[in-house]
Each structure stands twice: as structure tokens, then as C-alpha cells.
């Protein structure tokens, strides 16, 4: 499954969650520093939220 984190395409296994996409993008530490993850509509999403094909995430 392909998702995008801050515009970068990230491949994850089916069933993996937002947390895994951030690990792959090497951005999980940013969450520990207080940043948050948002979907393409500007809603915050949880780290264990389900991913969907083509989902666009932004860490800020």
C-alpha cells in the first residue's frame, strides 16, 4: 500500500497504521517532540489510525 507523508511516497504492508508510515518516513520522533499528524482535510489522526491507499499525511 502506498501513502504519502509530507509529500513523500511511502510503501507499507497491508494492515499497517499511521505509526508504521511515520516509522518508515523516519518521522515518528517528531511526534515525540510534540508535532502532530494530519490528513489531507486538516484533521488530526491518531498513530494507530488505519491507512488507506493513496492517503496523504502531513506531520507538522
Amino acid at each position: 500500500m502506498r501513502v504519502y507523508v509530507n509529500g513523500t511516497p511511502i510503501e507499507v504492508l497491508p494492515g499497517m497504521k499511521v505509526r508504521h508510515a511515520l516509522i518508515r518516513a523516519e518521522l515518528l520522533s517528531k511526534i515525540e517532540d510534540g508535532k502532530k499528524v494530519y490528513d489531507e482535510w486538516g484533521n488530526e489522526v491518531g498513530l494507530d489510525g488505519a491507512l488507506s491507499e493513496g492517503m496523504k499525511l502531513e506531520v507538522r
Binding site: E11, L13, G15, R24, D48, G49, A50
Partner: protein
């Protein structure tokens, strides 16, 4: 005459009274009616408040959320809904297979819930038992083969006829072990909604879809399906602070773990919504503001949980070394890697030593010992790696051994020699898989945890294999992907280890020379 005269005024009064009644009834139907939808999703058994990653203060706490529900119930007629994945994800529910959450939801008087993918994680028999104990309907219109799930619920609230249709993700088989969904079919939520909504429209003023398909899919459902008034969603754990409107459908979702309570106030007039306002109520622990009945349930299962952690699962004839897992092969590293390889049927296993946090002393092993040694919520994944990728993974694993980095590998089904004095990137000297030297071109199934499979601790080899496994499909309830061999997010590794020790009763794993230092 008088009798008639007496009767005549009675008849007139009676006609007037009936007319007034009819008139007042027509006023009730036409008059705006306020109702309130309260909702949670993806609770995952987080009964107690906790400090989330990146936060400085505790959030959540179901007793505080319940108190807020009580407060909001006093203001107007309420429907309390749960949009799936209420269980699995926290010891408070996992150790009781979800029963603690059902008791909680009964006490809070939930009106309906849709089944989420994680409700299947403990198997269908456990799910059926939970549904049997629930004092509210559990919905799943697009799940075929489990009759205890009802497609919809009809309820009249303050004179408004409300239909709640439940749909869950059709990819449930991806999120749980195939054995948990054997014999079940998960149809398209859009097809299920298209089938039921015209029928429900005849019997309801308001149609709510209680969904566990994720926010993007909720939006798509609203675009493709006519006649849905409200979608109360879950699965993507999205914090929809203000309701979205797509194709005339209001879409809401309340984040995760009971950290927020969703509130959607609707004014219904003449069978349609004329006004709505929505918000999320942040839930934070405030002493004195909890629901006492719910506090008692949380405390009861906390006590039970503590006693479960003390339960004996078996015995170890040796100390299980979790101290040296970042620098050398240890018997505890071997045990965990062996169990993962065996559970997944893989050729080998590579795990990160940093995933093991403490030792277990010789003697009785209790549940709590395993939980302390393996505290992370990781599950087993097995992917196909080439011999070259295995070599690269091991090379990466030993690249920071002098710094005792958590990436140091513990292995099963394979062995290797390395020199910590060689330059990083060329430390591994020999690798065997099974009894043979590794074939760099051949593919082997290698078990690991989901953290490394996602590329955690810098394990690029797993990430590359995942990248090559992009296309996948669900066939007969099983995920088929080019490089994916095994994927069971329904059980944490520590629970698999506990099950293994319970079965064996006595264990005595040894260091076998799987990882050897050479000059």
C-alpha cells in the same frame, strides 16, 4: 330532549376535543425536534487516562467520558453510539478478551455499536459471547456469515424515527488473523448502504450510518450513496473537530481511546434535518468529575488485571537473559525469535534486541514477567527476503554494537559470524540459513516484528521488501501479497510467547552459537 340536550353538548365537546388533539398532534409533527447524537470510536479498551506520545498531560479516562455523557443526556434526548474497535489494544481489555468493555458499555447505556475489525481479534466464539452479553445491538450490515450481527437498528427518539445502519471495513481480513474471519464475507459498505437505505427511508425520518471504514471511505460513501443523513465513523482515528458535509451528508468521527466525546446536535423538522451543530468534547481526568459506577468497573478490572499479571504460565530452568540483547546472542533473544519463527512458519527470524527490555529469573514465569520483558505492542510479520537482504539486515544490526544500539539482532533459523572491529558495513563475515550457507539470490521467509517490517531501527532491508510487496489482495479471507508471508496484528508477540510457555510448561533455552564474534 334534556338527555339529548345533555348529550348534544357532549357530542360537540367530544368533536372539539378530538379536533384539538389532531391539531396538537399535527403541531408536534411539524414542530422542530432537537435530538443529540453522542459518539465514540476506536476506544481500544483505554479505560484509564494516559499521557499520549508528544503530550504533556493525561487525556481520556472512560469514567470522565461517562460523566460527560450523563451531563449531556440531561439537556436533550440522546442516542449514544460506538463506531467500532472498542476492544483490543490495551491490557485492560485484552486480558479479558473484551468482556470488560462490554460491561462498561452496558453501564453507560450505549444504544448501538458497529463491529470493527478488531472485534474479530479474539475469534468468532468470543465475539458471539460478547454480543450475547451486550445490552445493545451490534451492527454489521455488510458482514455475511455471522447472524448475531444485525444490519440496522430502528429507534424512535422524541418522536423522530431514527434508523442506524452499521457497516465495517471490507478489509477486516487484513487486520486480523485469517482464522478469526473464517467463513465470513465482508461486502462493500457502499453496496450494503445502497441495499438498505431505500428500505429504511420508508420507516425512518433520519438515517445514520454507523461506520468503521475510515474517514476517507466515509467521504466516498457519502459521495456515492444518496439518502444518508449522518455518518458516524471510525477506523482512521480521525479527530473531526467540526462536522464535514459531503453531498448533503454530515460526517463525524471522535479521534480515539476515549480522548474525545463526539456531540452532534440535530434539529429535525418534517422528517429532515433543518439545523445541526457538532463538536468534540475533550476528555481529561478531573478529580471529582467521574461517573462512580464506571469508576467501580474500571477499578474492578484493574484489580483483576493485576491478579492476571501474577498468574503462573510456566517455569524456566535457567535465567532468561534480557540484559545483553543489544550486544550478543542471549537465550531470551533465541526463545522469542524461535517462537516468532515457529508461529509464522518462516525459515528464519530477525528481531531487534531493543525490543526485549528485561530479564526473567530462573523459576516460575508469571504473565507479568513476560509483559515486562516484551512491553511493546508489536505483532509478528514475515516477509520474503533474499539472502542478500538478510546479509544486509544483519550487517545493519551489528553496525552500532559498540553503542549497544537496540538494532542488534537476535535470530532464529539462521546463524552468522561478525567482527565488531571491522568497518561498519563489512562486519558480517558468514551467514547460514538452516544448515546451509546463505544463498544470496534465494528468497527466504523471515519473521520479524511490525516495527522492523516498517523499517524501524533503520532496517532498510525489510522496508525494501515491503516496497516490493506493494500490490496485495484478499483471497478467501487471506491477504495475498508478493512478499508478505505472515501478518497477524490481532496478537501481540508477548501473548504469543505466553501461549508458548503455557503449552510447554517448562523451558530452558540456551545460547547456541547463532551469533559469533570473530577477529
Amino acid at each position: 330532549m334534556e338527555e339529548v340536550g345533555v348529550k348534544k353538548p357532549h357530542i360537540v365537546l367530544c368533536v372539539l376535543w378530538v379536533s384539538l388533539l389532531l391539531l396538537s398532534a399535527s403541531f408536534v409533527q411539524a414542530a422542530p425536534t432537537d435530538i443529540r447524537i453522542l459518539y465514540v470510536n476506536d476506544f481500544h479498551g483505554f479505560a484509564e487516562a494516559y499521557v499520549p506520545i508528544g503530550s504533556k498531560e493525561p487525556l481520556g479516562g472512560i469514567a470522565y467520558l461517562a460523566a460527560k455523557v450523563n451531563e449531556l443526556r440531561k439537556e436533550k434526548p440522546v442516542l449514544l453510539l460506538a463506531a467500532g474497535d472498542m476492544i483490543q489494544g490495551n491490557n485492560w481489555t485484552n486480558l479479558f478478551l473484551g468482556a470488560s468493555v462490554i460491561e462498561l458499555m452496558n453501564a453507560m447505556r450505549f444504544d448501538a455499536m458497529v463491529v470493527g475489525n478488531h472485534e474479530f481479534d479474539f475469534g468468532q466464539e468470543v465475539l458471539k459471547k460478547g454480543i450475547g452479553e451486550a445490552q445493545f445491538p451490534v451492527l454489521g450490515a455488510n458482514v455475511i456469515g455471522l447472524p448475531v450481527l444485525k444490519p440496522y437498528m430502528l429507534r424512535e427518539i422524541a418522536g423522530v424515527r431514527v434508523a442506524v445502519l452499521g457497516v465495517t471495513t471490507e478489509e477486516a481480513a487484513i487486520y486480523t488473523h485469517p482464522r478469526n474471519v473464517t467463513g465470513l464475507q465482508f461486502l462493500s459498505p457502499v453496496d450494503a448502504a445502497t441495499k438498505y437505505i431505500p428500505k429504511l427511508r420508508e420507516r425512518a425520518d433520519l438515517i445514520i450510518v454507523l461506520s468503521h471504514i475510515g474517514y476517507a471511505a466515509d467521504r466516498s460513501l457519502a459521495e456515492k450513496t444518496k439518502g444518508i443523513d449522518v455518518i458516524v465513523g471510525g477506523h482512521s482515528q480521525t479527530k473531526v473537530a467540526k462536522p464535514a458535509v459531503v453531498n448533503g451528508t454530515i460526517i463525524v468521527q471522535a479521534w480515539e481511546h476515549g480522548k474525545a466525546l463526539g456531540v452532534l446536535d440535530l434539529t429535525v423538522e418534517g422528517g429532515r434535518i433543518t439545523h445541526f451543530e457538532g463538536r468534540l468534547e475533550d476528555i481529561q481526568p478531573k478529580k471529582g468529575e467521574e461517573d462512580p459506577a464506571v469508576v467501580a468497573i474500571v477499578a474492578k478490572y484493574r484489580e483483576k488485571l493485576d491478579s492476571v499479571l501474577k498468574e503462573r504460565v510456566g517455569e524456566s530452568g535457567v535465567d532468561l537473559d534480557g540484559e545483553n540483547v543489544r550486544t550478543r546472542e542471549t537465550n531470551l533473544g533465541n526463545l522469542v525469535a524461535d517462537i516468532m519463527r515457529e508461529a509464522s512458519g518462516a525459515d528464519g527470524a530477525i528481531i531487534n534486541g531493543g525490543g526485549i527490555r528485561t530479564s526473567v529469573r530462573k523459576g516460575e514465569i508469571r504473565v507479568g514477567n513476560i509483559y515486562s520483558a516484551l512491553p511493546f505492542n508489536n505483532y509478528i510479520v514475515a516477509v520474503k527476503l533474499t539472502g542478500k537482504q538478510i546479509w544486509e539486515a544483519l550487517e545493519h544490526g551489528v553496525s552500532e554494537v559498540e553503542e549497544k544500539a537496540g538494532r542488534f539482532p537476535q535470530v532464529s533459523g539462521m546463524a552468522f559470524r561478525y567482527s565488531p572491529r571491522s568497518e561498519k558495513g563489512s562486519r558480517v563475515k558468514e551467514v547460514w540459513v538452516g544448515n546451509n550457507p546463505v544463498d544470496l539470490e534465494k528468497e527466504y521467509a523471515v519473521a520479524t516484528n511490525d516495527f522492523l517490517a516498517a523499517g524501524g531501527d533503520g532496517y532498510k532491508a525489510f522496508g525494501d521488501a515491503v516496497k516490493a510487496s506493494r500490490d496485495f489482495s484478499v483471497v478467501g479471507g487471506t491477504v495475498i501479497a508478493e512478499k508478505l508471508v505472515y501478518n497477524d496484528s490481532s496478537r501481540w508477540i508477548r501473548d504469543v510467547v505466553i501461549e508458548y510457555v503455557r503449552e510447554k510448561k517448562k523451558i530452558a533455552p540456551r545460547v547456541e552459537g547463532r551469533i559469533r564474534e570473530v577477529d
